[in-house]
């Protein structure tokens, strides 16, 4: 961000970029006086496209029929609620002032499907992270200590799947799940591979550094959603501590709320946010996102098959579980978070505790892990909770008594201001993602701007949190690539966003050896020749070239 907080100024835009100045006579003027101007929103983690999301859509007709959007002259029809159809996803993000959205957890085999859906998600720039933490080649290379070969293979995978970052879900656990097992801790070896989650994490962290990837490794921890897992999370953060360069993050722990449970079982489950926040406050190599829980009916979907199976046993709801060949697994379970459930209410509290106890807003970002904690359309509610103790207190008064007694929230007085909200919802996320042209309004940045109809000089968001919530729900203007796409919460111009992918330039051209080709033939349902996605397959490809050290 540009260290500009509440000053009045003009922002000039030309050809989709922010510039020093333009010819005022010829330019179109957007009057944003008495309003807040922020860079376009960036979401680091939300499941909006791909085979898994689509299975969720098929699984849940009842999720759609109460939330229907009719077509207009400009927009297509679609449905919500927790897993909106692709076009509706784009429109809804844009209406909230978001312009960049990251789709995590793409099984590499489903890359084609994912990109087809991302291409059909208008209004936003996007990218997707391939799941590589349980990928057979990675496991084999790391087991044999072939770091550079592993790096070259990951570089090839990024280009083959048009991916953006290395996503690791329950390292080792998903491979074990293929045989009906899981891993219990960071040093529990994976069967048949004889490699531990710690080695996978450290190996891929090194690979990430060798390839100079813009984002860090994006980690969904082991034991996610189990009481007592905050220890695993601390261990995960510690295990790459020595690999971090001064001041640079080395690991992103995603939807940290689900990884911050204390206690030995569901009866004694409480918040481990304090310990995690303490660690993060003292170390600079970690970034987190919240994974806020919203009290609503939603659909949980992760690549963490064993966790989803546990959730099915807990809820008895309908479910989908899937093993993606040699790559990863997946699971889907519809879920309702209830205010009066002590566990759900504690989860709600944990995410807010994390966001408020971690002092530096550049280290923790606002997400719901859409749709796992709740749909992204609930972001304005989270903003209200972060900005206002009154809003938190009001929700607190409605939740389970047991959770209320255990919650740390009443002891936290911190309320975020608009500047900090801009960091947790866009600037911090863009920085963590290494998107240099996003998340700020300096000269040279992409002209992605969100204007919210709220006057920071007159409205105190800690008292008038409802006004703030309303304002963040409907952007007064969303400008995408220099064009006004949303006005007063209505789409006025549908546009296509870019698809970012990391084009790793290795010193030698990457060669795919015969061994890999043979394995493709033996183990995959898709032949090697059909596996990579060509650049022309994407609607608007935007490769980001990086120079690797291998």
């Amino acid at each position: 961000m540009n260290r500009i907080n509440g000053e009045k100024m003009d922002i000039a835009i030309k050809d989709g970029k922010i510039v020093e100045k333009v010819d005022e006579k010829k330019a179109e003027v957007v009057d944003a006086s008495r309003m807040i101007v922020m860079p376009g929103g960036v979401d680091i983690h939300c499941h909006i496209a791909g085979a898994e999301v689509n299975s969720g859509r098929i699984l849940r007709p009842e999720d759609h029929f109460k939330d229907v959007e009719a077509k207009t002259a400009l927009t297509r029809s679609g449905v919500g609620y927790s897993i909106p159809s692709t076009f509706t996803t784009g429109y809804r993000y844009s209406r909230m002032g978001y312009t960049t959205v990251m789709n995590p957890s793409m099984p590499p085999l489903e890359a084609r499907h994912t990109h087809e859906e991302l291409d059909d998600t208008p209004m936003v720039d996007k990218a997707t992270y391939p799941l590589l933490g349980d990928w057979w080649f990675v496991l084999e290379h790391l087991r044999d200590g072939l770091l550079e070969e592993c790096a070259a293979h990951v570089a090839w995978m990024m280009s083959a799947t048009k991916g953006y970052a290395i996503k690791i879900v329950n390292p080792g656990g998903l491979e074990a799940w293929g045989f009906g097992r899981n891993v219990k801790n960071l040093d529990d070896p994976v069967r048949y591979f004889n490699i531990t989650p710690r080695e996978i994490l450290r190996g891929l962290c090194r690979v990430n550094k060798l390839l100079n990837m813009p984002h860090t490794i994006h980690v969904h921890t082991n034991n996610l959603g189990q009481p007592g897992n905050y220890l695993t999370t601390l261990e995960t953060m510690k295990c790459v501590e020595d690999l971090a360069e001064e001041g640079h993050p080395a690991i992103h722990i995603t939807h940290c709320q689900f990884s911050a449970f204390k206690g030995s079982d569901w009866g004694t489950m409480s918040s481990g946010a304090e310990e995690i926040a303490k660690y993060v406050n003292h170390h600079s190599h970690v970034t987190l996102d919240m994974g806020q829980v919203i009290f609503t009916d939603t659909t949980t979907m992760t690549a963490d098959g064993p966790f989803q199976y546990g959730l099915y046993q807990l809820s008895g709801n309908k479910w989908v579980n899937h093993d993606v060949e040699t790559e990863t697994s997946a699971g889907i379970v519809p879920f309702r978070y209830k205010r009066k459930s002590a566990v759900h209410a504690t989860q709600w509290s944990i995410a807010l505790e994390l966001a408020l106890l971690i002092k530096d807003p550049w280290k923790i970002y606002m997400t719901t892990d859409h749709p796992n904690g709740g749909p992204f359309t609930a972001y304005p509610h989270i903003i209200a909770w972060l900005m206002s103790g009154v809003a938190r207190k009001k929700t607190m008064s409605k939740i389970s008594k047991r959770a209320r007694r255990k919650s740390l929230l009443p002891s936290i007085a911190r309320e975020l201001g608009f500047y900090e909200i801009a960091i947790v919802t866009r600037a911090g996320q863009a920085k963590a993602l290494g998107l240099k042209q996003k998340g700020h309004l300096g000269v040279g940045a992409d002209a992605d701007v969100a204007v919210y109809d709220i006057n920071p000089e007159l409205v105190d968001p800690s008292k008038k949190y409802k006004t703030a919530r309303r304002a963040f729900k409907r952007a007064a203007y969303t400008i995408k690539g220099g064009e006004i796409v949303v006005k007063d919460g209505q789409i006025v111009r549908p546009v296509f966003g870019k698809t970012f992918w990391v084009d790793v330039k290795t010193s030698l051209p990457i060669e795919v050896n015969d061994d890999i080709k043979r394995k493709f033939r033996e183990y995959w349902t898709v032949e090697y020749e059909n596996y990579p996605i060509p650049d022309r397959f994407l609607h608007v490809p935007a490769p980001i070239p990086v120079k690797a050290e291998v």
Binding site: L59, P61, E62, D63, N317
Partner: protein, 286 residues
């Protein structure tokens, strides 16, 4: 005599009558035919209510002749439909008071999500009648289709109160995900009656095609007629001389089965002993 007559008159005082102007060839979605919507509207306003005929937007006045018989709607608001509305869906959806009388057949989703009032159909009703209903009464003088009192596709929130009385036969998966209330079928019923049932009562006076109570967790199904077989995941519990259905005692004797054990359920399935001699082999497990 006089007070009774006056009560009857009050109850069946017809305020608004709809006559279809022509035979509908494509489905008509008429959520607006609902006492809550009509109440406190003049005949003119009612005629401008929007409805869909296939993919065409129409007004109620385009498709129906509307006869308004008084200007001050009372609590007992009644809509009468005379003519063929067997292509008109969602009649009485979300209604919470008043009466609807359909003189003829009605199409799907009759009384969907209704919260109160009475719907009477003199002919047949199609599938999804009373789906997700919360309260009120639906009475069908003829036959009814499938998924009576069921949940929306994929949802677990079925009928949660009220009464559905069918004088003829009913189709498949009646009472799917039912949570409370009563479905009474005077005639026969199709397969999978009370599938996924959570609670409530299904009372079948005729025969069942079988597989009653599949995946039920709780609730009560009473079959007074013949049933080909009982699902293997049900276990016999008792023989009862009679069974109580909403304050009414039904004379038996009945075999009482408990299930569906595949889902850890504790639902009760009562099956007439006299009509099902082929089930007597179960008696040795008592």
């Amino acid at each position: 005599m006089f007070p009774l007559r006056s009560r009857l008159r009050r109850r069946f005082e017809i305020l608004i009558t709809l006559y279809p102007k022509r035979l509908f060839k494509v489905p008509v979605e008429a959520e607006c035919i609902c006492p809550d919507v009509f109440a406190e509207k003049s005949a003119k306003e009612i005629a401008t209510l929007q409805i869909w005929e296939g993919n065409r937007k129409r007004t109620l006045g385009d498709l129906f002749k509307i006869k308004h018989e008084t200007d001050s709607p009372t609590e007992e608001f009644t809509i009468r439909i005379c003519g063929d509305v067997s292509k008109v869906r969602k009649i009485g959806a979300k209604m919470s008071m008043g009466n609807i009388i359909v003189e003829g057949d009605a199409d799907m989703h009759l009384g969907e999500e209704m919260k109160g009032g009475i719907i009477t159909v003199t002919g047949n009703a199609d599938s999804w009648t009373g789906s997700m209903m919360k309260n009120g009464t639906i009475e069908i003088k003829g036959n009814a289709g499938d998924y009576i009192g069921a949940s929306y596709r994929g949802s677990t929130q079925g009928m949660s109160g009220g009464k559905i009385i069918i004088h003829g036969n009913a189709g498949y998966e009646v009472g799917c995900f039912m949570r409370k209330g009563l479905i009474k079928v005077h005639g026969d019923i199709g397969r999978f009656a009370g599938i996924h049932m959570r609670d409530g009562t299904i009372f079948i006076q005729g025969n069942s095609e079988g597989r009653a109570g599949a995946q039920m967790i709780n609730g009560k199904i009473v079959v007074c007629g013949y049933i080909p077989s009982i699902l293997p995941t049900f276990t016999i519990d008792d023989i009862r001389p009679k069974v109580k259905v909403n304050e009414e005692n039904v004379e038996g004797p009945f075999y009482r089965f408990v299930g569906d054990l595949a889902d850890g359920g504790d639902g009760k399935l009562f099956v007439s002993k006299t009509k099902n001699p082929h089930l007597s082999s179960y008696e040795e497990y008592l």
